[in-house]
């Protein structure tokens, strides 16, 4: 990869090294715990995808039953294994019976771990195979259809109604979109269950449900065939149901997930223990399913000042990277987020944006960077907004970003109308094409303003990570190291869903994923 800036690699190494230690020191804590959502994800991977007539997902019913009996510490897999030992059956069938009260979980049939494992094995294998077949499908389609030139054009749909979303998404694909993200309804991230079925009533977005995923996947496969390129589908493995949504997304062949090791903590006040544990397993699922993650550092800049807080973005990216690597993700799937959010009135603001974008690019040469458009300084002046997006597009192509979230001129007004998205895609496509090889053409003045700025940001990052390494990540978050937000270890939502694993705790997917990967490698 071409580099526009000259940098001492050693500073980058120091920063990365700090992040590795920060993350490493949390892993034992994480590995000692599981959560309600992790357990539900296990059930969903095993095919438990239905809900009660009242809309309560079977996965939730079952996990709650175990919780009530105080048996969740062993893991849902342990008790499913026991039930299968008692009487083998497809897991969904077992689940139905449990939900209906016809069978019960929690009867210990055998105390031997090996036997429980064995009872589970064919079911796990089947689950793993169905995930694998989804990856293979994707691979084949990508090979056959190909994809758009880099950066990929990523747009959102967010009508609240999955059927309208499909109409909007099809139009977007025809107009050049490569990735379609279905934004979730406000509030979903704090729901401790995944709604069921197709939905038509969301606000600011559409509920993430397995059926909605399926409908959109089907529509986008059709649209992709027509357009002659594979359309990537994006959703949110984020909030209180991180691992579950990773699971259903993997099952429905989604391609990317918004997934961040700290976003929920900072921006949704989700308990940090919960998030750290959830993100770990969710990323294992995503890694195994060859999916991309997109981290959420862009959000820092919607509350804090982009010029002042640039270094926190990079520090967080480094931490996200380490968490992802620990969960088995390949760098090529770690889409680190950042954003074009500086005040458009700053003199030379574009220079600082270029400096930041290039810095990110150079620190993570193997990661596909997800670049987010201006949102904070967008206003009702849609014409001006269109220009902010143009400069964002320009910066993106100049600095070689990979996943380009197309900025929409009506950002400050409403979730995008169909023609807003058209104009936005036209904007990006015009500028990308017109400046296609600009990056090859220029070299940056090594003693200029941009390099100086990037160096300052890098220095502050090194400094910040050094501090965090000393205090530890949880304490650092308590102290407000990120986004000027401070969160407490036992505060926030969802702590009640975190538990310490017993010694016989079982999550056979962890082993299955790494075994299969190893056998594939």
């Amino acid at each position: 990869m071409k580099k526009l800036f000259p940098f001492s690699q050693s500073k980058i190494e120091e920063a990365r090294d700090s992040s590795a230690r920060i993350v490493d020191s949390l892993i034992p804590f994480i590995e000692a715990r599981s959560t309600a959502s992790v357990e539900r994800a296990i059930l969903r991977l095993l095919g438990v995808d239905k809900a009660t007539p009242q809309g309560q997902p079977w996965a939730n019913v079952i996990v709650e039953k175990l919780l009530e009996k105080d048996l969740l510490g062993d893991g849902v897999a342990y008790w499913v294994g026991q039930a299968l030992l008692e009487k083998d059956a497809p897991v969904p069938q077992l689940a139905e019976a449990v939900v209906a009260g016809r069978r019960e979980l929690g009867n210990e049939v055998s105390p031997k771990a090996a036997e429980v494992q064995e009872a589970l094995t064919p079911h796990i294998r089947q689950a793993v195979q169905s995930l694998e077949s989804r990856s293979r499908e994707r691979e084949a389609m990508l090979k056959r259809l190909g994809e758009g030139p880099s950066p990929l054009l990523y747009v959102i749909v967010a009508t609240g109604n999955i059927h309208e979303d499909i109409v909007q998404a099809k139009s977007a694909v025809m107009l050049g979109a490569d990735c379609i993200a279905v934004i979730r309804s406000t509030g979903q991230s704090l729901m401790d269950y995944v709604p069921h079925g197709s939905t038509t009533e969301g606000y600011g977005g559409t509920y993430a449900t397995q059926e909605n995923f399926r409908l959109m996947r089907q529509a986008m496969d059709e649209a992709g065939e027509e357009a002659g390129r594979y359309v990537r589908l994006v959703n949110y493995s984020s909030g209180l149901c991180m691992p579950e949504i990773a699971a259903i997304g993997a099952l429905e062949r989604l391609d990317m997930m918004l997934n961040d090791s700290m976003y929920g903590i900072l921006f949704r006040d989700i308990n940090m223990q919960r998030t750290f544990v959830d993100q770990y397993f969710s990323r294992m699922i995503l890694a195994f399913s060859d999916m991309f993650i997109n981290t959420g550092e862009d959000n820092y800049l919607t509350t804090a000042d982009a010029y002042e807080q640039s270094h926190t973005v990079i520090a967080s990216q480094l931490i996200n990277e380490q968490f992802a690597l620990r969960a088995g993700m390949k760098p090529a799937r770690i889409g680190l987020g950042h954003a074009f959010e500086m005040n458009p009135d700053i003199e030379d603001g574009l220079l600082w944006e270029i400096a930041q974008a290039e810095l990110v690019r150079q620190i993570f040469p193997q990661c596909p960077i997800k670049y987010m458009p201006p949102t904070k300084y967008m206003t009702g002046n849609i014409f001006k907004g269109h220009l902010l997006n143009a400069m964002f597009n320009m910066t993106s192509i100049l600095t070689g970003q990979s996943i380009h979230l197309v900025g929409i001129l009506t950002e400050a007004l409403h979730t995008p109308f169909m023609h807003d998205r058209y104009l936005a895609l036209e904007n990006a496509r015009y500028i990308f094409n017109s400046a296609r090889h600009l990056r090859d053409e220029i070299v940056v003045n090594p003693s200029g303003r941009m390099v100086k700025r990037a160096e300052e940001v890098l220095d502050s990052t090194v400094e910040l990570l050094r501090e965090i390494r000393q205090t530890g990540l949880m304490k650092a978050i308590e102290k407000g190291a990120f986004a000027e937000i401070s969160r407490n270890m036992v505060g926030g939502k969802g702590l009640e869903g975190v538990f310490v694993k017993t010694s016989r705790y079982l999550n056979p997917f962890v082993a299955a994923f790494s075994r299969t990967e190893a056998s594939l490698a």
Binding site: G160, K170, T379, G380, A412, M418
Partner: protein, 248 residues
């Protein structure tokens, strides 16, 4: 060049020309049909000589149009009522003076992003020390005691929290407006308050980029603040309203 205030029309480059730009999408498949449809729609909207200057298919059944035309409507602005909040804008200093001389005690306000809304930047802009666009928020006012409940506070919880600490004013933020969720949430909250008969205990203020004072009034709030609000405006209103209520 000036037009009388009795018949004001949009202006492009000649007084009275009525120049208006429109854009919209029609759910039609055929571009020519959509162009003609766009022209007719513009005529219905009262544009003379509408010109469809651009048409682009967005998908199998949609065409985006840009239209220019001359509005035949005119406004009588001489009698136009701009429904403004009845409040004298005061400075930080003046507010302090006002509270000390007219109210004589600390003022307590409670803020929240109601319902599923998690956009805290707006309410923080009004309440926090840091404030907005160089204007410090209510926390910086020596005579204000601020409690900011943050994001996603359920209506019932807010009623309860308010009952516990009895603030003078409740400041509610609503940023998401899709499918009028802000209206629904704001109304629901008043229903809860009414149920417990407490509506009149507080100065009820709603804010957010989709709010205006008239809209807030319509929904049953005492005042509404929209995009670009600065804390002084809110503080001025609160203290003057409290003085007014006290005077009664």
């Amino acid at each position: 060049m000036r037009a009388g205030l009795k018949s004001v029309k949009p202006y492009g480059d000649t007084m009275g020309d009525g120049a208006v730009q429109l854009s919209f999408t029609l759910p039609l498949d055929d571009v020519d049909q959509a162009r003609e449809g766009g022209r007719l729609l513009a005529l219905k909207m009262g544009l003379e000589n509408p010109r469809v200057v651009f048409a682009k298919r967005l998908g199998r059944e949609f065409v985006f149009l840009v239209v220019y035309g001359a509005s035949k409507h005119s406004l009588d602005v001489s009698s136009l009522q701009v429904s403004k909040l009845d409040v004298v804008l005061m400075s930080h200093e003046e507010i302090r003076e006002f509270v000390r001389s007219r109210i004589g005690r600390k003022i307590r306000v409670m803020g929240a992003c109601l319902g599923t809304d998690a956009h805290t930047v707006g309410i923080d802009a009004v309440l926090s020390m840091k404030g907005y666009a160089g204007h410090k928020g209510l926390e910086s006012y020596p005579d204000f005691e601020v409690s900011n409940l943050g994001a996603q506070v359920a209506p019932a919880d807010l009623v309860e929290k308010a009952r516990q600490s009895c603030p003078d004013a409740l400041l509610i933020s609503q940023v998401v407006t899709q499918k009028d969720i802000h209206r629904a949430t704001l109304s629901r909250f008043l229903d809860y308050l009414d149920a417990s008969g407490e509506r009149s205990k507080y100065v009820l203020i709603a804010g957010g980029p989709g709010l205006t004072h008239p809209l807030a009034k319509e929904l049953g709030y005492d005042a509404g603040f929209g995009a670009g609000t600065v804390p002084e405006q809110v503080a001025s209103y609160i203290v003057q309203e409290l003085a007014r209520r006290k005077g009664k």
